[in-house]
């Protein structure tokens, strides 16, 4: 039966226990209060960080690109090393790890660390490990994550690499201190906080470990890049570079270029290659100074797809194409896109100031009768110059004179694409204000008169002060085909940023695709490069570009391709720095990439036709 007395007896027992506890606490908080603060102040707790395993990186097919392997590392507890026992331990280390030099061993024993690294035990026999741990309590084994880039050079610019953090990075990334490694470039940098994980801790009181926290691994990253497409892109671009070297007598070896494949529907990046590249694994094990300088001199660390700034040449003409159709601005005397205009190979015109100028097209004898389609197809400069003249005459020196620049910016030129990669460059779209600014900040670069009609004529064909990155160009073409200027991304889970929206009608898109289609077909500038495909080229489109450079630098070779006109899926942009004519070098490189995307048999990159 229930016994109320016993229950109350229990409560009394509780009460006595409580009195006992409170007495102890009272003692602690009164009598021992003073001595406690002393003990606390003298207490030296030290932290030793255990790096967290970084998240791994996978390509579109789930293939691993960057992995993290935990490898057992032997550490020695320096707090337990005394003058008496140091020589013993020195011998033990020498005996077990004969590969260590005297200098390295000296470093261990001179170190002021709590724990000092001795050796990576991943290839050491289990017996040896066990022996060391069992017999000597100064040794401790910690699993340290090691980064490995499985595809070596293939993703050097997209994935990036790791390095020891500098002061800024310590401040910026809170896990950098414990991991002692930080993403220096590429996705490793952009997603540093996501990939890094939280380092673990060992808390030392003197030589004793009194508490520990396990490291928490970072999150994995899944990319839209496809390793196979990336491989083909790199091969093709390399073949293009070799071809350029063979074909032109350049003072310097031609070795710089970039190629990007962008998925039109999603805006995901399917491949992104920049050459020259490097092996990011070399940074893991430490790169030699000589090798670093060599790579640096070749600008191998630049991702030209987002950092290479090139005048776009004729691939920029689509901006004027879009402007012409939207604003109904055509060469003087023409009323629509189908009215023809006689290109005689040069354009002479006068300005308000009375000066007279003659501009010569790349084709000396002229293109004959051309409408807007022909102007794109044959890359007729005169047609576009005439549009520029028209803009200049109608809007010059008014608020509306920068209409071409405004259209450019809507497509993302001179703005960030907001790709999920660090250190993206934006390039320049010149206008009157910029020239005025340059007159002060960079005297000698621009004329005393400032912004003139000739500058606008240069701009409309992608020449002069304008610079763009290959990714900007790819994204601009995507914007024209979808109406949405959105951030292209590598991480499939990245949040897309809408940079801008434009009005493009379905009619416009089909005009544009049809006109791009003429470029790779008979009579178009890229016809020769694509002729190897025979009938299959009928559905492909593109635009060539050949941009002149200042000095004796060879032209920049451009090609923007669309894999299919009836069902456009990919935009392929290729740039070969000093690669000469776009139709000769960049076009066949893109052609080979398109062959892969359409699952046709691959044929080598062969010299096309020199146009422009």
């Amino acid at each position: 039966m229930f016994n109320q007395k016993r229950l109350e007896f229990t409560f009394i027992a509780f009460f006595i226990l409580l009195a006992f506890v409170l007495t102890d606490i009272f003692q602690l908080q009164t009598r021992e209060f003073e001595s406690t603060s002393q003990i606390i102040d003298q207490q030296n707790l030290d932290k030793f960080y255990i790096p967290a395993p970084r998240g791994e990186i996978f390509d579109a097919n789930g293939e691993k690109i960057a992995e993290t392997k935990l490898e057992p590392h032997l550490y020695i507890n320096m707090r337990k090393i005394t003058n008496q026992n140091a020589s013993d331990y020195r011998q033990i280390i020498q005996y077990n790890f004969p590969e260590l030099t005297t200098k390295e061993i000296n470093e261990i024993f001179e170190s002021k660390d709590i724990l000092h690294f001795v050796a990576n035990l991943s290839s050491v026999e289990y017996e040896v490990r066990n022996n060391l741990l069992k017999n000597y309590d100064v040794f401790i084994i910690i699993d340290i994550p090691i980064r490995k880039y499985i595809k070596n050079e293939l993703f050097s610019h997209t994935v990036g690499y790791l390095g020891i953090p500098n002061q800024d990075e310590f401040n910026k990334f809170q896990n950098a201190l414990g991991n002692n490694l930080v993403g220096k470039n590429g996705l490793e940098r952009y997603y540093e906080e996501y990939l890094s994980g939280i380092p673990g801790e060992l808390i030392f009181l003197g030589s004793k470990i009194v508490d520990s926290k396990q490291p928490i691994p970072g999150e994995d990253l899944f990319l839209s890049i496809d390793s196979l497409t990336q491989t083909v892109t790199k091969e093709s671009l390399q073949q293009g570079l070799d071809l350029a070297n063979k074909s032109f007598e350049s003072q310097n070896e031609i070795k710089k270029g970039a190629s990007v494949v962008l998925d039109i529907e999603t805006g995901n990046i399917v491949s992104m290659v920049s050459l020259p590249d490097f092996d990011p694994n070399k940074f893991v094990s430490g790169i030699s100074d000589f090798e670093y300088k060599q790579l640096d001199r070749d600008q191998a660390f630049n991702n030209f797809a987002i950092q290479g700034l090139y005048p776009p040449g004729s691939v920029f003409k689509v901006v004027a194409y879009w402007l012409a159709l939207s604003e109904n601005i055509f060469p003087e005397g023409l009323s629509n896109k189908d009215s023809k205009f006689d290109c005689e190979g040069s354009l002479s015109f006068g300005f308000d100031d009375g000066s007279q100028q003659v501009y010569n097209d790349w084709k000396f004898e002229g293109h004959g009768k051309v409408d807007l389609t022909d102007a794109i197809k044959q890359s007729c400069n005169v047609y576009f110059w005439d549009i520029a003249l028209n803009i200049w005459r109608n809007f010059g020196n008014t608020d509306g004179e920068s209409i071409l620049q405004e259209y450019s910016k809507e497509l993302g030129f001179s703005e960030k694409t907001n790709v999920d990669l660090p250190f993206e460059k934006v390039g320049i779209i010149p206008d009157r204000d910029l020239f005025e600014e340059w007159k002060i900040s960079r005297p000698g670069l621009v004329r005393e008169e400032g912004w003139l009609g000739g500058d606008l004529m240069n701009l409309i064909i992608g020449q002069g002060a304008i610079t763009t990155t290959p990714l900007q160009v790819a994204n601009a073409y995507r914007t024209l085909l979808t109406g949405e200027n959105q951030s292209p991304t590598l991480n499939i889970n990245a949040e897309k940023i809408t940079n801008n929206k434009i009005n493009v009608s379905d009619e416009f898109i089909s005009f544009l695709l049809k006109d791009l289609n003429t470029v790779t077909n008979k009579g178009g500038t890229a016809y020769v490069s694509f002729s190897i495909l025979g009938n299959k080229a009928n559905d492909i489109g593109g635009k060539t570009g050949t941009a002149q450079n200042a000095g004796d630098k060879n032209n920049t070779s451009w090609f923007v391709g669309v894999d299919s006109i009836s069902n456009p899926k990919y935009i392929i942009v290729t740039v070969v720095d000093e690669g000469g004519s776009g139709s000769a070098v960049a076009a066949p490189v893109s052609r080979r990439i398109i062959q892969h995307l359409l699952e046709y048999a691959l044929t080598p990159v062969e010299f096309g036709e020199i146009t422009e």
């Binding site: 016993r6 229950l7 229990t10 506890v21 209060f33 603060s37 102040d41 009181l205 508490d211």
Partner: protein
């Protein structure tokens, strides 16, 4: 049946005192945790945010428990007990976390929390024993059920909870007028088997190191927690300007939260907190005397013993009187499972109050 129309809160009414007590303890916990965080940001990783969410969900759990009438509860006990045993057996098939099989990880179903079933099975055990004791039938089968329950928790291994449940079981039998001779011999058997298991090395390394560390007299966290309590002085550092250096105490927000509380609110804070609990015990004891139903008497005593034993084991641990146990301080420690289980206890007590028509 008594006519219950009193519905101040909840469908069947709520005893305002019990509700208030639950909320006061929760708020004390928030203030304590507030002192240990660096920034006030609403994110799931922030311990204060987590605790506030846990407390509010705990409040819902409290009200939900109040729905269940004691009569229905009584009929459900056997089923609950079987469920509890199955869930504990299920734990044997999980992957160990930190060397012990004690939690279900809810990450795969999208919740960033771990569930510790033993937190709930201890309530079910109290219900089960209360039912055994209030019946006149043969108790042997029922007692073997209790032993199985204890054994399943013991092999997780969870030394602390096993000790807790051993104490609760013993005390519940003690108040049932059992012959003292039997009670003492039962306890002896328990302790004997514990040391036999220890002898045959059936405990995990983790448990052993906790125990041996204690006997070698140098458990770091307990020494640190004593320093932390001591540094609070009479009034604590929460409202004072004096900057006494911080003391590092491992797991200070969960098992060792009383050391953080004492550091912040000093001796008088501790006195206030324990006084609140004493008042609570007095209040509930009055109902135990008043109710006519034997099951309710056993149930309330069992729940009070469970709460009291948890508090003492927790305090003894952080003061270093006994080895580390991992028993949280009810409603003060950070942790969802502990809060929810205490909310259920409060809800059950509330229900008994309501059925006895005591509302304020």
């Amino acid at each position: 049946m008594i006519n219950r129309k009193i519905t101040i809160l909840g469908p069947e009414g709520t005893n305002l005192y019990i509700l208030l007590q639950f909320m006061i303890f929760s708020v004390i916990s928030w203030f304590t945790l507030f002192s240990s965080i660096e920034s006030i940001e609403f994110e799931t990783s922030n311990i204060l945010t987590r605790q506030i969410v846990f407390s509010l969900v705990g409040l819902i759990v409290f009200f939900l428990t109040t729905y269940l009438s004691i009569e229905n509860l009584y009929n459900l006990i056997n089923a609950l007990f079987l469920l509890s045993i199955s869930v504990l057996i299920g734990l044997l098939f999980t992957t160990p976390i930190l060397g012990v099989r004690r939690w279900y990880d809810l990450e795969p179903v999208g919740l960033p929390i771990f569930i510790q079933p033993s937190e709930f099975s201890k309530i079910v055990l109290v219900l089960f024993i209360a039912k055994i004791l209030s019946q006149k039938s043969n108790k042997l089968i029922a007692i073997s059920g209790v032993l199985i329950n204890l054994f399943l928790i013991f092999i997780q291994p969870d030394f602390g909870t096993t000790m807790l449940l051993l104490i609760v079981t013993s005390l519940m039998f003690f108040v049932s007028d059992i012959k003292l001779r039997i009670a003492v011999s039962g306890l002896l058997v328990f302790f004997l088997s514990f040391f036999i298991l220890l002898e045959f090395n059936l405990l995990g390394d983790y448990q052993i190191s906790r125990i041996t560390d204690f006997f070698s007299g140098e458990d770091f966290s307990q020494r640190q927690s004593r320093l932390s309590i001591s540094s609070g002085g009479l009034f604590g550092i929460y409202f004072s300007e004096s900057q006494i250096s911080e003391v590092f105490v491992p797991v200070q927000t969960t098992d060792f939260i009383f050391s953080l509380f004492s550091r912040n609110f000093g001796f008088f804070g501790g006195l206030l907190l324990t006084s609140l609990w004493i008042v609570f015990f007095f209040r509930v004891n009055r109902i135990i005397k008043r109710t006519e139903i034997v099951f309710e008497k056993y149930l309330l005593s069992g729940l009070l013993i469970l709460l009291g034993a948890q508090i003492f084991i927790n305090l003894f641990t952080i003061l270093g009187f006994i080895p580390l146990t991992g028993i949280p301080f009810p409603l003060l420690s950070l942790g969802g499972s502990s809060i929810f289980s205490t909310a259920i206890i409060f809800g059950l007590i509330n229900r008994v109050f309501i059925e006895n028509n005591i509302v304020v």
